[in-house]
Assembly symmetry: C2
Homo-oligomer: 89 residues x 2
Amino acid sequence: MQKLGLFETERFFCDVYCLLPQQSQKPHAHAGADKIYVVLEGTVDATIGDDQVALGAGDCVLAPAGRAHGVANNGSTPAALLVFMAPRP
Amino acid sequence: MQKLGLFETERFFCDVYCLLPQQSQKPHAHAGADKIYVVLEGTVDATIGDDQVALGAGDCVLAPAGRAHGVANNGSTPAALLVFMAPRP
């Protein structure tokens, strides 16, 4: 998985994550920081706590602070996500 | 202009702004809060400080804390923006 930094301030970062088919970001949690995934292209399966949701272009999901979250590209085409997180780690 | 709240946490909000042709958000500034505009559809002209930039679908721009920013739909079709701001006002 590739992470490309778009913006970073004292308060947040905004990255693009690129996942080839079968690539994933393993579920993990951040205490005190919230994250949003926005799908730009392709499809991903997002895990947010005990929930799993399939996301396509234009879909977005919130991973609240402290809740485990991750994304997996189980499709056959590359996927790109816009990722916001505040505060930045 | 319509604002639709998507997510709000202690640390940020994420809204969708919908601007019909000729609608705009007048330039304004927030001390201590950064904002990102992401164009979902249509086109807008964004003002960030003294800079003006034309944005289309998939484009995004950062308005750092304290810098005046606004968006105007000068096109002929509706525009939709994803707007992320931290911390929330």
